[in-house]
Subunit: 267 residues, 2 copies
Amino acid sequence: MQILPETSEAPELVPVADVASIAASATPAFSPLYQQIKGLILGSLRSGEWKPGEAIPSEIELAARFKVSQGTVRKAIDELAAENLLLRRQGKGTFVATHAEQQVQFRFLKLVPDSGSRGSEGPAQRDIIECRRARASADVAKALAVRSGDTVLQVRRVLSFGGTPVILEDIWLPATTFKGLTAERLTSYKGPMYALFETEFNVRMVRAEEKIRAIAATDTHAKLLQVALGTPLLSVERLAYTYQDEPMELRRGYYRTDTHHYQNDMN
Amino acid sequence: MQILPETSEAPELVPVADVASIAASATPAFSPLYQQIKGLILGSLRSGEWKPGEAIPSEIELAARFKVSQGTVRKAIDELAAENLLLRRQGKGTFVATHAEQQVQFRFLKLVPDSGSRGSEGPAQRDIIECRRARASADVAKALAVRSGDTVLQVRRVLSFGGTPVILEDIWLPATTFKGLTAERLTSYKGPMYALFETEFNVRMVRAEEKIRAIAATDTHAKLLQVALGTPLLSVERLAYTYQDEPMELRRGYYRTDTHHYQNDMN
DNA sequence: CAGTGGTCTAGACCACTGG
DNA sequence: CAGTGGTCTAGACCACTGC
């Protein structure tokens, strides 16, 4: 036995694979040590032990805490960094990723101006049209994994660039998690909405799926986006997830694509 | 000095960073060994030393060839595998990725049926409308990095699912690289077009950028996709690159989104 | 069984950051 | 200068594949 370093919890890590377990099961479900470490780090992220923007303990500290080598911790962190959950900065440390950083600002907004990159047009003007409590319809409830009829917050906003409205968004959030969110708060907050979610509601969006279609502008679209009825628009339905594949936001966006386009880079 | 193993070229690999180089330049442009190894492997892929679908030498062999440790080769291969250029298979070896495999079949086609996953609708029917030689217009030439007026191959085809036309595509290819491509060859080939490019023209598509807009169907769109004039369609302009960021294909797709949608997953 | 990639370790040294 | 992440090595052992 050894003397335990500082905090003394370390739930018996074993490279799950011995004769017994292999004999017992057809699929031994072998899990490498670094995957278990990754799970433990994920747990700490999820529980809020380390908050977005903060530094996590150094590799050496984590290696001591989990009683594995630095290389094993390193591989776990490598994967979490590749998934954009952590951010490594040489010489400084490893940090919990946040939507408040300039670099990762538009990770989920793929609409860019046709000429020039983002920012060439100045910051977006954001107008909250409404923010109200409502009952989840069947499809909204299904997407958010809540019961049909449960209370949800519904936000409608318009984003404009250079004075021209380009994006209309309807956003649905589970009311229990986002209790206290108001139009005023949304309006006064400077910075990405997902950054506000992190600081005010302890919700970090980690992953998103988008389904894109072409539709014709309805009366509502036409009025709010200042286009003719029937104008083709991009319909972008986004489902955003927090840690643990938990759906936390449904967002239906309607994009004008006369001066902007949806940019998707595939590697 | 050591005795060289088998083939005896290994162009002096050095972890570029000594006192002299640091003193000489403000940006020493330090390049880790594994990055140099990665570059050498990339060179062999590009030159065709190992072809799509083939196995590359084992990590131990490569380590001997480059006179570095297995771990260093491993890190280089890891990155190439992450970029989908190589495919690791435990117990078997490391293989050059190919568009002919089932797993990576639809890496660049993000249109999926609204309900059910891909394949639930059976294979696509592919009709080549035309395949002809033409002069590159200004925008096509710019995209493909050829001179305006250079000869390009232009292909138009329609993809149908369950008898319904869903995708209309116009494709432009530099004629010099794709000499001999005909409508007959495209029609007779079973499998992804990019797989044909690999086997017949030694061109492997590695990366692609797509710009997506919503447009109204023109006469041509309406006729070929069997929709009403003015129907909103997804316009998908794809620029596909081979190794070394060389643009090799421009593709303008027009997607019906009444039964399908463009699916984009962001991690 | 040999050969492949995958994991884990321990240690040395380098590059970068900030006090 | 100390502390962080980043690179590189050498060696041991494990899991998977196919003969």
